[in-house]
Structures are given as structure tokens and as C-alpha cells.
Symmetry: C2
Subunit: 377 residues, 2 copies
């Protein structure tokens, strides 16, 4: 995968770049909205395009269960099935299987789990997960990993990281000996594990780099550790990950988490926060979060954020959004989601522009001053 | 209200026209999507514009309870609150109160009812309902009526019709002595009652006409009677209603009901069928209804209707829609609603074009041949 770094910040290791896929170019740093099961919840492809979304994420676990790879293959892949023409990254199912907890059993061979839909039993191996993603046709496919909660004991963490590494080798081998199914190239990313232990992370990364993946994800964060530890582990990881490959911090995070990680040299993020928070009635503004469900907004006829140019802010008041949530109208979910996705994409575009202008730290400080201030519009 | 009839069908009493409001012109026959409580469920104003919606309906009962007239007044009326720039018609709350059944008590003075939200008690009089709609700022306001189920005994039906007539007199008087609140004219429609009894309908209409409303609605249909009786009562009503006033058949109906009533000289319709059916996974096509939830569509990659130009049909397959319903994604509700609204608006546009071309009966017969055929795309 061709990844070009076009600018580096002078004071930090933040970088701005772009990478190329068969479905178009992605400008980094980038945020990837989560489209678990064939849609970024509540949004159409047109909504995504209008909010400058460049790449979306699909969940292998969910898509494998419904509609299933047979339907996706008949449709000519996920892009065609959901009518999304830009890049798609699919996770490996590792995280969903991790969160199923009592419904799964991990062995060297792979992971046995039960469907959350109907309790039916399934078995994922590293090879099978590659095959599934070949059929999904995602531009970037992730290896099967074994994610454990933070903090876990060092012994367990080491075992999980070693298991993940063994799976990564099998995944890479299987990927290299199989072909794409729809006439365009797919790329494969490895996933770093090692919990909160710097030495395990380093060991894991060094071994992963030998496999020469197209990009590297930092996994096993945002699963219980503090923000400080998240930052430390991110920093340790980006310090030794290859400069010329894309770095992806999985499942992160809040606007502040994302800025912190960009500063530490991360290029890509996905997280359910903007979409899930929106559906719970929490929206983002320059001045921090706004719980739009609250009664205080019932006669507030300003938009969520007067400086925001999204469809929601250009057309609707807080009072109207509050009303929609108050009467359980699904339009509210969509308008809030549109806004939050716009906010996140704007955030990474602004970060990118700041890196290019070589004033990332100044931009960050201005953003945080407002975002953490007590002033609320 | 200025209503122009621009064409009449030669073989039927169908007519094509247009009427003018402060928020724009409406071309008749027209279908009015139901936007009960400040949104046509799942759709944004932009979605409505793109599907050529000309006028929407708001429910006085719902809007009075939430967000309440105080908020709507502060917002500068419903148009501004929901950011809908085209005409709005509000019903009187009579039908919602009718459907509350055990939660209401009707007297000569008005109707006492309990909120379905919290059980709180409220009292609607004909005058109060005018005042509420003044504050809502709808372009067309409906009088409070007393709707009863079909069939009801003649004595009860007569009493209900007389009560409605008395309320209509008070409504008209109150309307004429009050002013609009937002600087644009509002118009008031009367509602014909009289159940399934032709003589009661005629009596009711003649008395209502003396009040010189801006338009006339036929109420008390689509509440239990057969299609044949619905057609008979419609025909009797339009026969004596004034030619130069808009005629509105409330709560009707299926595509066939609408065509039947256009043939009988009706100009306006509202109904929850396209929106509610959509949310249940039933969509309309030239070839009749399609229950898109059904497993038979799981690998059907055609659009709902290949001839349809709506966003949904231009972009998505039956298989994808079926998947969205199957995994409970709200995007499915919106895509199905978009399609059904497009279908209904196209239906009335086509009916209008046929009237203008003086070939309504031929058009109707061609539509029904396909619609009732066993061919399914």
C-alpha cells in the first residue's frame, strides 16, 4: 500500500500523509466512522459523502453473521452491497469476539464463539478470517487478534500477545497465497498487542515488522486503561513502528484521545463514540459535549454549534433536536449522528492542516482551551 | 384561499388545480405526508423536498402536548421550529382524541382527554383548537370535529354530526375574529361528518357551506367502513360540495382508495399508510406491495422498482433493504419511507397529468392492471 508522508510537525512526531486504495485516496490523520453491519448507523452513503467521510469500517464478526459472506459474494462485495464507493476497512472480529466474553473459547487454533443473534456456534481461525474479508472485499483487512482487558497480569498478557503473533504469521501467509475476488487489491494490517507492558509491546512490534504488513494497528487499548497509559503505550509503539507504514489506533476515542495520539504519530482512528453518543443524545461542539436531550435546551433556538457547517447546524435548533429526542423520533438520531461525524472529520482535517502548517501544538492548545472551557455556547 | 381548477377530466368529475398559501402553491390532486409531531417520521425537510412533497400535515393533539404551543410560539411557529418552508396543514386533534377512546369524554362544550404520555388531563374546545393552530401557524387549520367509528347507529351518527356542526360554527366565528400571529394568512377548513348515512352527510354539508369555509374535508371515513361505502359517501359529498373550494378526504388511503377518490372529485389526501407501512417493511411498486422484510429478497439485487427514480431505488437493492430490516438498522426505515413517499407523490402527479390530458380513466385502468397483476418484478 502506497503511503506518502507529505508533512511532519516540527515540535512533535505528528505527520500528515495520504495512502492509496482501489477505492480512492485517504488523507491522514483520518477518522473512520464505524459501519458495523453494512451502515454507519442512521446514515446513508450520501450523508457520509456530504460530511467528507473518506473511509468506513465494517465489522467482520457482524457481517459474517448477517447478511453472511454468501450474500456479500453474490452482491459482488460489501462496497456494492451497501453502495459505498470509497475505501472500507474491516476489523477481524477479534474485538467483537473479545466482548462476547462468556460466549467464546480461545485456543491456539482459533476462537470458537456463539452468535449473539441465535446462539449458533462458529469457529474463526486466522485463515478463515482472511477468507471472509476476501469475500467482503474490504480495501484494508485486519488480522485476527486476541484482545484482553486492561489491566491483565503480565503472564496472561504475554500469552495473548504470543498467540496473536502466531495468528499474525498464519494470517500473513494465508493472505499472501490467496487472491482478491473482485479485481482490486486488498491490503493487510497487523495488530500490535502486549497490553500495558512496554517490553511486551516492543517485542510484539519487532516480531510483527518481520511479517511486513501493509500497515500496523495498535490494538488492546481503550479497553480499561487510563488515558495516561494509553498515551504512553501509543508513544512507545509509534516510536518503533516503521515510519513508512500507516499506523492505526483501534477503537480510539474521544476528541482529546485522538489529538493526543496524532501528536504521537498515529494516522488512523475508528471509534463508536461519535455515532453511539449521538444516538444517546450527546453531541460535540467546540465548547465540549452538549447533552441535547436535556430540558435546558427546550427553548434554545441556536444550533448545536454556531460555527459548524453541517446540515444539522445549518438547519435546526437545539430546541428542535431536544424535541426529537424527547418524543423518540429517529430523525433526531440521524441529525445528531450527522453532526458528530462532521465534527470528528473536521477535527482530523484541522489537525492535518495544523501539521502541514507546522503549528500542531498551537492548534491543539487553542482547541483544548475552548473544548475544556466552562463557556458553553 | 385562492383555488384554481386548471383542468377537468371529460369522463369523470376528477379535476386538476392549484391553491395558494403564504408558503407556496400546492398542485392538486395532492397527497400530504403525515408529520405528526414535527417530522414526517425518519425524514428530514431535505428528504421531503427531494421527493417533491408540497405540503405536510401536523397533528394538533401531538404538537400541543409536545413540544407545546409555548415553545412553538417562541420559535416563531411550526415552520421555523422544524425548518419546513412549504405549506403545513394541521388537523384539529379530533381524530387523535377519537382514537384515545377510553381516555376522553365529549360534551357540547368540548372534549376532555388524557395525554397518552403522562395521563395529564386536558380540555379542547373548538375555540381553543383554533387558538392552538394560530400558535402553530399552520397554513390550513381544521375545525374540531367529533369522529365516531363506522358503522354507528343512525341516532348516534346524527348526534355526532350535529355536535360537529355546532363546533364548526363556533370554530368559524372564533377564527374570523382572531388574527394570525406570524404575519401570514391562515385558512380554515370545515369537516363533513354523518357517517355512512347519505342524508346525514347532505344535511351536514349544506349547513357547513353556509359557514363559507376556505375548503371542506370529508371526515369520518377510513374508520371501519368498506371501500364501496367509502366511495359512495365520497361521491355523494363531492356532488354537493362547492366546485370552487378544495376538497380533502381525511385519512385516506391506499393507492387504490386515492385513485377512486380523485375520480370522484377529491383534491387532497393524507394518510399514514406510506410512512407506517415503510417502517413495517412494506413498500409500494408499480406491481403492488412488496414485503421487503421477507427472506425471498435476501439475494435479490434489483431495486424495489426498476422504474422508480427515488434515492432508494437509484442506489440500493431489495437484498440490502431486507438486510437493514433484518438487523434492525434505522437506515432501513428511512430508505423505505423515502421510497413510499416518492411513490405516493408520483401517483398523484401522474393522476394530475392524466386529468390534464383528459385520459384519467385510461391511466387508472393501466395503473390498476399492473398494480393488481400477479406479476411481481
Amino acid at each position: 500500500m502506497k503511503f506518502e508522508i507529505i508533512a511532519r510537525d516540527g515540535q512533535t512526531v505528528a505527520r500528515a500523509g495520504r495512502f492509496h486504495t482501489a477505492h480512492g485516496t485517504v488523507e491522514t490523520p483520518i477518522f473512520i466512522p464505524v459501519g458495523s453491519i453494512g451502515t454507519v448507523k442512521t446514515l446513508s452513503p450520501k450523508d457520509l459523502h456530504e460530511n467528507k467521510v473518506q473511509i468506513i469500517l465494517g465489522n467482520t464478526y457482524h457481517l459474517y453473521l448477517k447478511p453472511g459472506v454468501k450474500i456479500l459474494f453474490k452482491a459482488g462485495g460489501l462496497h456494492r452491497f451497501i453502495n459505498w464507493s470509497k475505501p472500507i476497512l474491516t476489523d477481524s472480529g477479534g474485538f467483537q469476539v473479545y466482548s462476547l466474553m462468556d460466549l467464546r473459547k480461545v485456543t491456539d487454533e482459533g476462537v470458537r464463539f456463539k452468535s449473539h443473534w441465535d446462539g449458533s456456534e462458529h469457529f474463526f481461525t486466522p485463515e478463515k478470517v482472511v477468507d471472509i474479508q476476501r469475500r467482503i472485499g474490504s480495501d484494508i483487512i485486519m488480522v485476527l487478534d486476541y484482545c484482553i482487558a486492561n489491566p491483565s497480569k503480565k503472564k496472561e498478557t504475554k500469552e495473548a500477545a504470543q498467540l496473536t503473533l502466531g495468528w499474525a504469521e498464519r494470517s500473513r501467509e494465508h493472505f499472501l497465497k490467496t487472491n482478491n475476488l473482485y479485481g482490486y487489491s486488498q491490503f493487510q494490517f497487523g495488530i500490535v498487542q502486549g497490553g500495558v507492558y512496554p517490553d511486551l509491546r516492543k517485542e510484539n512490534i519487532n516480531a510483527l515488522m518481520d511479517l511486513n504488513f501493509d500497515g500496523y494497528a495498535i490494538g488492546g487499548l481503550a479497553v480499561g486503561e487510563s488515558g495516561q497509559i494509553k498515551n504512553e503505550i501509543t508513544e512507545i509503539s509509534t516510536h518503533i513502528l516503521p515510519e513508512e507504514k500507516v499506523r492505526y489506533l483501534m477503537g480510539v476515542g474521544t476528541p482529546i484521545d485522538i489529538i493526543d495520539a496524532i501528536e504521537r504519530g498515529v494516522d488512523m482512528f475508528d471509534c463508536v463514540i461519535p455515532t453511539r453518543n449521538a444516538r444517546n443524545g450527546t453531541v460535540f461542539s467546540r465548547f465540549g459535549k452538549v447533552v441535547i436531550r436535556n430540558a435546558q435546551y427546550k427553548a434554545d433556538f441556536k444550533p448545536i454549534d454556531e460555527a459548524c457547517k453541517c446540515y444539522t447546524c445549518r438547519n435546526f435548533s437545539r430546541a428542535y433536536l431536544r424535541h426529537l429526542f424527547n418524543v423518540n423520533e429517529v430523525l433526531g438520531l440521524r441529525l445528531a449522528t450527522l453532526h458528530n461525524i462532521h465534527f470528528y472529520l473536521k477535527l482530523v482535517r484541522n489537525a492535518r492542516a495544523a501539521i502541514i502548517k507546522d503549528n500542531f501544538i498551537k492548534w491543539k492548545s487553542q482547541f483544548l482551551d475552548l473544548y475544556n472551557s466552562d463557556d458553553k455556547l
